[in-house]
């Protein structure tokens, strides 16, 4: 889609400004389409994009018309040498539909022209510092990977990845048959609000926090992926970690066709789950499902309480700062000098406390709350792999019933004495017999994988929680030590009042 960029006018700053002061007339079959308007990239991130593609959807009267040769005309009007590549797939896959619809009163044309804007997910232009925390590998937006495994070509390397790439990796891994039954770590969630604020270039602390939060979440995500023995072997993962330029992940936008497909699949899955009742020969799985569900509920509750704590601490922060200022004012107006000084000192102590509270709130959030959120998502993934096992069972059962039907059909044919169809029926029976055996094997295999995964997951979870909670408590301890120092400094001042 880079061709279209060439004939955009570049304005003084060399930014692609698609200024439509000209009238672009595209002729196609039976109608003329005109549009006019101005588009200026709203924020600097757009200006940094490599290419933005404009697809023109032309509607005439009541039909969706995909013009065959609009490109020639566009080129003609814009005076570019080459004709732009206008790919006009009926259901665009890789763009977010934009909001522009222009109706041309002046030209008295009754055509609605939709400008579909494709936006690449803007690359985070924040320089994220590299952090190697694990002797094996880590991953971030721009991250170096050090590896001692012979799988990788070099020992330490770094690649640039976009957020959609991380999502794409997850999609690819989830779809793989060979990984069925494995607990695939889910990536952090998309956040339209947060990302938009960042794109718009707001520099307030909440967007900084958002970026940091996302970076940390992606790092944890990748660490989980590479610590999984089967996932580490997976070629997609290796490609993700190694390859310099990854092809665009096209299925990750919410409003794309693939996105819609996913939603429909998920809905049908939910319906399926409700209707099939698995004949569970192994109570282990049922017990585990119940355990997982109960735990998820508990974690959710805990997460919401921790969230509330974070908010209250932030509030405490704000209120302490305000109080400190007020105290300083009071100290100013006090006419006894020693007391005045003491009050100002108190104001300073309160200021320092505010900082402590701020750090504590950050620790609450980044260590505790995020840990809980991660595990809530992970438990969802665990439930997912139990679902996969159920679906494998379902497939096996369906294959068995189909086989049964085929055998009955064969019997009927034998009875009806139609030798020509008989052979076909026999072939079908053999085919389905193999399928049945294969599906049964798949089901057993998935069952075993799930069991193994569960054990690994429990172990990792215990370790993770312990490490994080100990980290949290250590942070709390440090903050208490500083607290003590501040008050110890204040005490002599208070005693000095005369």
């Amino acid at each position: 889609m880079t061709g279209l960029q060439k004939f955009w006018r570049k304005d003084e700053n060399n930014h692609s400004s698609f200024s439509l002061n000209d009238v672009f007339v595209l002729q196609c079959d039976s109608c003329f389409f005109c549009f006019r308007g101005t588009f200026r990239p709203r924020h600097k991130h757009l200006q940094q994009r490599r290419a933005a593609t404009y697809l023109l959807f032309l509607w005439s009267s009541a039909r969706l018309l995909v013009p065959a040769e609009p490109r020639r005309y566009a080129a003609h009007l814009l005076g570019a040498g080459k004709s732009p590549q206008l790919s006009l797939a009926p259901l665009p896959q890789n763009y977010i539909s934009c909001n522009v619809s222009i109706f041309w009163e002046e030209l008295k044309l009754p055509y609605f022209i939709f400008l579909q804007l494709e936006e690449e997910e803007a690359k985070d232009s924040f320089d994220v510092d590299v952090a190697v925390t694990n002797p094996e590998k880590v991953g971030q937006f721009n991250y170096p990977t050090t590896s001692s495994l012979p799988l990788f070509k070099s020992k330490a390397f770094s690649v640039r990845r976009r957020f959609s790439d991380f999502l794409g990796l997850y999609e690819k891994l989830s779809a793989k048959q060979t990984l069925h039954g494995c607990i695939i770590p889910p990536p952090p969630e998309k956040s339209v609000v947060g990302m938009t604020k960042v794109k718009v270039g707001m520099d307030d602390p909440s967007s900084m926090e958002f970026v940091e939060r996302r970076r940390a979440a992606l790092e944890r995500y990748l660490q989980r992926v590479v610590s999984h023995p089967s996932l580490l072997q997976d070629p997609d993962v290796r490609e993700f970690l190694e390859r310099d330029d990854l092809p665009r992940a096209v299925n990750t936008q919410t409003l794309s066709g693939a996105g819609f497909l996913k939603m429909i699949n998920r809905a049908s899955d939910a319906v399926n789950k409700m209707t099939i009742k698995m004949n569970e020969s192994d109570t282990w799985f049922e017990d585990k499902l119940q355990e997982v569900e109960a735990e998820e509920q508990q974690l959710r509750k805990l997460h919401s309480v921790v969230d509330s704590l974070v908010n209250h601490r932030k509030e405490l922060c704000g209120n302490t700062a305000i109080f400190a200022k007020s105290m300083a004012m009071l100290g100013n107006s006090e006419d006894n000098t020693a007391l005045s000084r003491a009050l100002s000192q108190l104001a300073e102590v309160e200021d320092k406390m505010e900082q402590l509270h701020q750090e504590q709130a950050a620790s609450d959030f980044f260590i505790l709350a995020e840990l809980l959120a991660d595990y809530i998502r992970l438990l969802g993934a665990v439930r997912g792999c139990l679902d996969q096992r159920m679906r494998a069972w379902q497939r096996w059962q369906e294959a068995q019933s189909t086989l049964q039907k085929k055998r009955e059909a064969e019997a009927k044919l034998l009875w009806a004495n139609k030798p020509d169809k008989l052979q076909q029926a026999k072939d079908e029976i053999t085919e389905w017999e193999t399928k049945v055996t294969q599906y049964e094997r798949d089901f057993d295999r998935i069952g075993m994988t799930v069991r193994k995964e569960f054990l690994r997951f429990e172990k990792d979870k215990a370790k993770d929680f312990k490490i994080q909670i100990i980290k949290y408590l250590e942070a709390m301890m440090k903050s208490q030590q500083r607290f003590i120092k501040f008050w110890e400094a204040f005490l002599p001042e208070a005693k000095a009042i005369a």
């Binding site: 355990e291 704590l309 007391l339 215990a462 100990i470 408590l473 208070a494």
Partner: protein, 407 residues
């Protein structure tokens, strides 16, 4: 139902609160008259204070005696001081605030309504919290009333007041009814007039440097103390909220920990215990801040208002004096009612001088008292904060030791 629980056992006052309890005021305990609130009882919507007096003064029938008084009777005493012209030149100790258990009662009601939706442990925990809160408010209101009485007893003039003696000694109900609507309305108008007047009077520049300085100082100080007091309250409330959250975290972790008996679950149980203990400390920190800092600021808010009132009365009498002078001149010019005008002028002059003299002393005392109170409270605040922080630290260290040792 909860009030019944608190009604039995009159001794809510823990050991540390016994004895001379001059919370906000630094007073010398004079053997000739010692007053304190030895006991208090909380009934449905009233609090009954037992005022205990020890005195060697001859006008009392006994040397030691107690009476039961309610909040309205304290207010009556305060108002009688304010309305007494003779005391115009003194800072009248501010009246104690009304005991306010409404918030607590509301919470209790909500707790009762939500009983079904909580587990038993949560319910008992919340109930305990509420009881502790109720107790804290109760202790505070007792302290405030006691401070008022001690101030009156320590004041060289006010302690001799007849109403005060009646208050201390009269064994039966003083039948002080609360103000009815008409009287409340009168009060309201009086206040309006006073504040309007106050503005006018404040504009008059005082010849005396001392009083001029005091006036500007007090105005500014009062406003800033008001500001600080409100903000301190907000800060402490946030602190309490954070402590409450930790409580809920503790119980959540406990539930997680009791689901199984794996290593991780034991870990959770230990952490839950830690959070429980930490929360108690945090709650105590908030309570101590409340007591030492917030109450201090609130008290000086009221007291600086009383000092402002004193200045106002003095300015008022100055204005009266000046008016009397003018009236005298007019009378002399017209040569009518000269005697009356002269008498009036003398009266006003005398009054003004008396007030000025005592006001000066009062304001100087006020300063000394204030500095002493702030010193005491700030030192105690710092010491308590340190004590709690060290306790917290120790808790964390020991818990971390156990947790790390286990893993």
């Amino acid at each position: 139902m909860m009030q019944e629980g608190l009604d039995d056992g009159p001794d809510f006052l823990s050991e540390e609160d016994r004895g001379p309890r001059a919370v906000n005021v630094d007073l010398e305990m004079d053997a000739t008259l010692q007053v304190d609130i030895s006991d208090a009882l909380s009934e449905r919507d009233k609090v009954k204070f037992t005022v205990h007096t020890k005195s060697t003064l001859p006008n009392f029938k006994q040397n030691e005696f107690s009476v039961v008084r309610q909040h309205e009777e304290f207010i009556w005493l305060h108002d009688s001081f304010v309305e007494n012209e003779d005391y115009a030149g003194y800072i009248i100790p501010p009246a104690p605030p009304r005991p306010d258990f409404d918030a607590s009662r509301e919470k209790l009601q909500k707790l009762g309504e939500g009983e079904g939706s909580m587990t038993k442990e949560e319910f008992t925990k919340m109930k305990q919290e509420l009881e502790a809160e109720y107790l804290a408010i109760f202790k505070k209101t007792v302290a405030m009333h006691e401070v008022f009485l001690c101030r009156v007893a320590a004041h060289p003039v006010l302690r001799k007041d007849l109403n005060f003696h009646v208050f201390l000694e009269y064994n039966q109900d003083l039948s002080v009814r609360g103000k009815n609507k008409k009287e409340k309305l009168e009060d309201f108008f009086k206040n309006v007039v006073k504040s309007a007047d106050g503005v006018l009077v404040a504009g008059v520049k005082d010849v005396d440097d001392f009083f001029e300085h005091e006036k500007t100082f007090l105005l500014e100080y009062h406003n800033r103390v008001k500001d600080s007091s409100a903000k301190c309250d907000r800060m402490i409330r946030s602190h309490k909220n954070a402590a409450d959250d930790m409580n809920r975290i503790a119980s959540s972790l406990y539930t997680l920990g009791t689901q199984d008996s794996t290593d991780l679950c034991k870990f959770f149980l230990k952490v839950s215990e830690l959070f429980e203990k930490t929360r108690k400390i945090e709650a105590r920190v908030a309570a101590d801040e409340d007591l030492k800092l917030a109450d201090l600021l609130k008290y000086y808010l009221r007291e600086s208002q009383a000092a402002k009132d004193l200045l106002y009365r003095r300015s008022r009498s100055l204005v009266d004096y000046e008016n009397a002078n003018k009236a005298l001149d007019k009378a002399r010019a017209k040569n009518r009612d000269v005697m009356q005008a002269e008498n009036n002028q003398q009266l006003c002059c005398h009054k003004f001088e008396k007030i000025s003299e005592s006001a000066k002393q009062e304001l100087i005392d006020f300063k000394t008292r204030r500095v002493a109170a702030f010193r005491k409270n700030l030192v105690e605040l710092a010491e308590l904060e340190l004590k709690h922080a060290k306790g917290n630290l120790q808790l964390l260290q020991s818990c971390l030791g156990v947790l790390k040792g286990n893993t």
